[in-house]
């Protein structure tokens, strides 16, 4: 144990011993005799192992409580505030057992301040003590009956307990106070779902989504509501858009934001920054990560996250510097290598990107996303055997990365191994039925493979016609043209190709025009294409 930590721990123990008297002692020390509320003993958690900044914060606030206590009676509000600030930092650091008596004391000393029962409501919610949570939110509501956040959280508590009838009036009050509150509309939807009223649930969730289209968390329960109405198509559409952030729709909650912003440790700042990233608040994310790197300058993770936030703001050079700092702090930090690789690839520096992706997978052999990118770059640069090896490794590590199988198939084609390419695409068609890349790539190969035994014009046309129903991109159109030519329908192939060229011209894509004209010449001469992909455009197949 380091000396400072040792002293810190000892100080903590002494402070605890001093403050941790019986309620009666506290009360007596409070001075005003029978008017002083009985206070609970408050003990700091063990600070051994804590980051210094957080330990200091806790001790400073504890010392503030002691100062107020020594001032004697007549300063109830300040005393309450001191306990409350201590409770906030403990709550923010997730030391719920330690925070509880501090906040209870604050509430006892100043019953007019709604913050203390409000924070206690959240504390008990975090502990899973839903009944106690509801009781505290109810107390807070007495001070601010129209506070939307409190109404929403209380309704949430009742719904979590399976008490929709108690939640109902609260949701109504929240909507009266703020008809446009996304969180209140969301709770109204939950309420309706809990009662099995799917039609009403759909209305409320749709209203919430209208209000805040970026609130992805609404899609999942909305999908369930549509499912309840028997509308499977809409249900699946919304379920597919579900949030990956694992949170409910929360009300605007400045009081809890204050708590979350209280703890000054590097990890707490990193968590805060990640939450800001998740809600796409890039400036807040940058701010949190910067504060974190100031406290922990050698943290590769913080520098990498800061770089990510900066990149999202379009500040590429600053982002790159942060990624490079992350790598210099931790040479094996795979994510930073990967991010640098992506930046280089975007700039067209494929060789540089290759080195970075290789470094990423060397440090983290199971980093499937990095290995997939590595495989793609290798393929584009003609290192086909290496690309094959990397795709196979990705398929083994993370079979859900369907692009790896597609990439492997295309690599086979580039190597002239058309049958293996076809077989891989057929396997992909079965394994990943929702991935449109497989039918498209298969159509193209069956239409234009130089190997007679692989070509199947009829099947190619059937596949291409199926894909074009949902996707009218250039790539798909070109594939359709290839398939039409293969089955001898040259006039139609020419027509399709001419339309594509016109569209490419309009879009200002001379590169595409040139490519498309090669096949146009073939079709006009009543010849089919025998080049499924050119080496420079094969990336478009994914």
């Amino acid at each position: 144990m380091r000396p400072r930590a040792c002293v810190t721990a000892l100080t903590g123990v002494l402070l605890c011993a001093f403050a941790c008297g019986s309620p009666g002692r506290e009360g007596a020390a409070g001075g005003a005799g029978s008017d002083s509320p009985a206070l609970r003993p408050v003990a700091l958690p063990p600070v051994a192992g804590m980051s210094e900044s957080v330990a200091e914060q806790m001790q400073d606030r504890y010392a503030a409580v002691e100062r107020e206590r020594k001032r004697g009676p007549g300063h109830g509000a300040e005393y309450a505030q001191a306990y409350g600030e201590l409770g906030k930092v403990l709550l923010g650091a997730n030391y719920l057992d330690a925070a509880e008596p501090a906040l209870l004391n604050a509430a006892a000393l100043d019953s007019s301040d709604m913050r203390w029962p409000y924070y206690l409501g959240h504390l008990y919610r975090s502990k899973g003590a839903i009944r106690e949570s509801a009781q505290q939110f109810e107390r807070a509501l007495k001070h601010r009956p129209a506070d939307v956040a409190t109404l929403v959280w209380l309704a949430d508590a009742y719904l979590s307990e399976g008490r929709p009838d108690e939640a109902d009036p609260l949701v109504r009050r929240a909507l009266n106070a703020d008809p446009g509150s996304t969180a209140a509309l969301y709770q109204a939807g939950r309420l309706a779902l809990a009662r099995g009223d799917h039609a009403s649930a759909v209305r409320q969730f749709e209203a919430a989504l209208d209000r805040d289209p970026a609130a992805a968390s609404i899609h999942y329960p909305l999908g369930l509501a549509y499912r309840g109405l028997g509308d499977t198509q809409r249900a699946e559409r919304h379920l597919a858009q579900r949030s990956r952030e694992n949170r409910i729709v929360e009300p605007v909650d400045p009081l809890m934001e204050e708590v979350q912003n209280t703890v000054a440790g590097p990890l707490a700042l990193e968590v805060r920054g990640v939450e800001a990233l998740n809600r796409r608040d890039w400036p807040a994310a940058v701010e949190a990560f910067r504060q974190g790197t100031a406290l922990a300058p050698r943290s590769a993770s913080l520098h990498h996250r800061l770089g990510t936030a900066l990149a999202m703001m379009g500040r590429a050079d600053e982002a790159r510097r942060e990624f490079e700092t992350a790598v210099s702090a931790s040479p094996g930090y795979a994510k930073a290598h990967y991010s640098l690789g992506v930046m280089l690839e975007d700039r067209g520096d494929e060789e540089g990107a290759l080195d970075r992706y290789a470094a990423a997978v060397q440090s983290a052999p199971d980093y499937a996303q990095a290995r997939l990118r590595l495989a793609d770059v290798l393929r584009r640069r003609g290192r086909l055997q290496d690309a094959l090896r990397e795709y196979e490794q990705v398929m083994h590590t993370d079979p859900t990365l369907s692009d790896a199988m597609l990439g492997r198939a295309i690599t086979f084609v580039r190597m002239g191994r058309y049958r293996e390419g076809r077989d891989q695409l057929l396997e992909g068609l079965k394994a990943y039925p929702n991935h449109s890349g497989f039918p498209l790539a298969l159509a193209r190969l069956l239409a234009a493979a130089p190997d007679d035994s692989v070509r199947d014009g009829s099947r190619a046309l059937a596949l291409a016609e199926q894909v074009v129903k949902v996707d009218q991109s250039t790539d798909v159109g070109e594939t359709l043209g290839m398939a039409l030519a293969e089955v001898g329908r040259f006039e139609e192939a020419v027509a399709v190709q001419r339309d594509l060229i016109a569209a490419a011209r309009q879009a200002g894509r001379p590169d595409l025009v040139a490519r498309l004209q090669d096949n146009l010449r073939l079709y006009a001469a009543r010849q089919a294409s025998r080049t499924p992909w050119r080496s420079e455009d094969v990336g478009d197949a994914r």
């Binding site: 650091a93 990890l267 993370d398 394994a431 039925p433």
Partner: protein, 574 residues
């Protein structure tokens, strides 16, 4: 509730001891006569096993996950034997606790004696050496099933390391056929399940894999204040599950790539197999830690599709992925379909997904009271079981944290929590009866695996519990057999193999039907009694049964004897 109950008992006993008024004395006497619903009797029964997780202060991730426990009748003498999973040291640091004995999995033979007057003496004997099972390594869980249809139950043991398949030779010994069978998977597997998914009469194997992890890639994690703690699973990438098809010749084919369409996977912890959509084919539900759960719905052509999202069992009703450790399928509301119960992390609350009959589910955790009642617990092993034989499936979960409560500096493993017992009220709601079920429910331990079965064959279900870095516990049920029941062992005609997946409809004299299933999977990393025990309450008339066998054939028996175990053989019914 537990504390208040204990206090009441203490006051009553104290009052009795003080020689106070006769009513108090009567109450105390009555309390003394009424047996506990469950009594912990591991030591009495000769089960003296303590799990070793190898913790050395390095907070290695696997330390908080094991062990499972297994029930199987390995010697076919009609009673359930035990397989207990053991760990080993991790890394090079000195363990914080010395190893409690030989660090291998243990096979304990049940030497139940039933005297003519019905008195039962339950006693287990460690026969590991004689069995030739040498299961050393960092064991995680166990699955039991007869893979070669010879009538002798085999074992699949999962590891952080290489999994093992032990074939029962039928003479008290086992042979390691892991490599030969093609199931010697190297990685980090937790739960596994034997299931005949293609109806060919051979048990196939689904292995749930957890995370890609090694000691070399171990991460250092801390809480928000910077204090070292065990890492959450999201720190490590998930490992794909595996599906092995039994070829019928002692080997298995890995059909994962072709059978599991979309190849989705998460950090699998619990696996339960059942026919969720009522089409007669077995499906597989996988509880994934911190990500979407998977419902592999059998397409009846050798493949599965993940339908969890639309089915409503991938996430909570709010769309949140939860920790999802233990899971079991059972018809808790007696409407003829399989519902799902899943244990979760503290703060999340257990989940109850109620089946509409077609494989579409509603999340009713809150409404049932199961969710709110479990918010303060981290649950692992669990199962649907009718502990009081009233005809309604109840649920028990064993609990234990995965990270120390903040500020809890007790060393070395301050993760203990008490277990919970919930009684089914028959109206969609459950009542927490832990406080009146016995002193065993006041004990806090780091609960992980739990296997449910009738160990003394007296007509009620007992529970074996595996505690992480702690002693195995045996909760004997004292009250279930006060009600009537039937016990069914469902077997094939050729070798007497337990036909896992067989579905039984018990037709009571009033015409109502209870639906149950023969299964050994579910819970967490554990193997349950494959027999079916059905509580009938006070009904005195012997019921009839209809059985749908795993191959789709159905048969009926007009009457099955009450209050005894009966072997039901496929092909001998109507």
């Amino acid at each position: 509730m537990r504390v208040s109950c204990t206090a009441v008992v203490a006051v009553s006993v104290a009052a009795a001891a003080c020689g106070s008024n006769s009513r108090v004395a009567d109450d105390a006497a009555a309390a003394a006569r009424t047996p506990e619903w469950f009594t912990e009797r591991a030591a009495d029964a000769g089960i003296n096993f303590t799990h070793f997780n190898g913790m050395s202060g390095a907070y290695y991730f696997p330390e908080v996950m094991p062990p499972g426990v297994g029930l199987l009748d390995y010697d076919n003498d009609g009673d359930l034997d035990l397989y207990l999973v053991q760990g080993q040291a991790l890394g090079t640091g000195a363990p914080l606790r010395p190893p409690p004995g030989p660090l291998t999995g243990r096979l304990l033979r049940n030497d139940l004696q039933v005297s003519p007057d019905g008195n039962r003496v339950l006693r287990f004997t460690d026969v590991t050496s004689a069995s030739a099972i040498t299961a050393s390594g960092y064991g995680m869980g166990v699955a039991a099933g007869d893979i070669d249809n010879d009538g002798w139950t085999d074992l699949y043991v999962t590891y952080f390391g290489r999994n093992q398949l032990w074939r029962n030779n039928g003479n008290g010994t086992f042979t390691d056929v892991s490599a030969r069978s093609g199931t010697a998977l190297e990685g980090f597997s937790v739960s596994a399940a034997f299931v005949d998914y293609d109806r060919d009469g051979w048990l196939d194997l689904y292995v749930g894999n957890y995370v890609r992890y090694s000691l070399e890639t171990d991460q250092r994690c801390s809480n928000l204040a910077g204090v070292r703690t065990y890492c959450p699973p999201q720190v490590y990438p998930a490992l794909p599950d595996r599906l092995y098809r039994n070829r019928g010749n002692g080997t298995f084919a890995d059909v994962t790539a072709t059978a599991l369409i979309g190849r989705e996977f998460g950090r699998a912890l619990g696996v339960s197999t059942a026919d969720f959509d009522g089409d007669g084919w077995m499906d597989v539900y996988v509880a994934n830690d911190g990500s979407e759960n998977i419902l592999w719905t059998n397409q009846r052509n050798g493949t599965f599709r993940n339908t969890a999202l639309l089915a409503g069992v991938a996430l909570t009703a709010e769309g949140q992925a939860e920790a999802s450790m233990g899971v079991d399928a059972g018809d808790f509301d007696n409407d003829g379909d399989e519902d799902l119960f899943m244990t979760e992390l503290n703060g999340e609350g257990s989940n109850l997904y109620v089946n509409s009959g077609t494989g579409i589910f509603d999340d009713r955790g809150a409404r049932s009271a199961l969710g709110p009642s479990t918010l303060q617990y981290t649950g692992f092993g669990t199962a649907w079981f009718d502990f009081d034989n009233d005809g309604w499936l109840d649920v028990l979960s064993v609990n234990g944290r995965v990270q120390a409560a903040e500020g809890d500096t007790r060393q070395p493993f301050p993760l203990d929590q008490p277990r919970l017992l919930f009684r089914n009220l028959g109206n969609g709601r459950f009542e927490n009866v832990s406080g009146i079920a016995g002193a065993a429910f006041a004990v806090a331990e780091v609960g992980r695996g739990a296997a449910f079965g009738d160990l003394d064959n007296d007509g009620d279900q007992d529970v074996v519990i595996g505690n992480d870095a702690g002693p195995t516990r045996l909760l004997m049920n004292n009250i279930g057999n006060r009600n009537h029941w039937i016990g069914l062992r469902l077997v094939d005609q050729r070798a007497g193999r337990d036909l896992l997946g067989a579905r039984v409809e018990v037709v009571r004299s009033d015409g109502t039907v209870l639906t149950r299933r023969a299964r050994s999977d579910g819970s967490y990393a554990s193997a349950n009694d494959p027999r079916v025990l059905v509580g009938l309450g006070t009904a005195r008339e012997a019921p009839g049964i209809r059985v749908r066998w795993p191959d789709g054939q159905t048969e009926a028996w007009p009457s099955v004897p009450l209050d005894r175990w009966t072997t039901v053989v496929q092909g001998t019914g109507q």
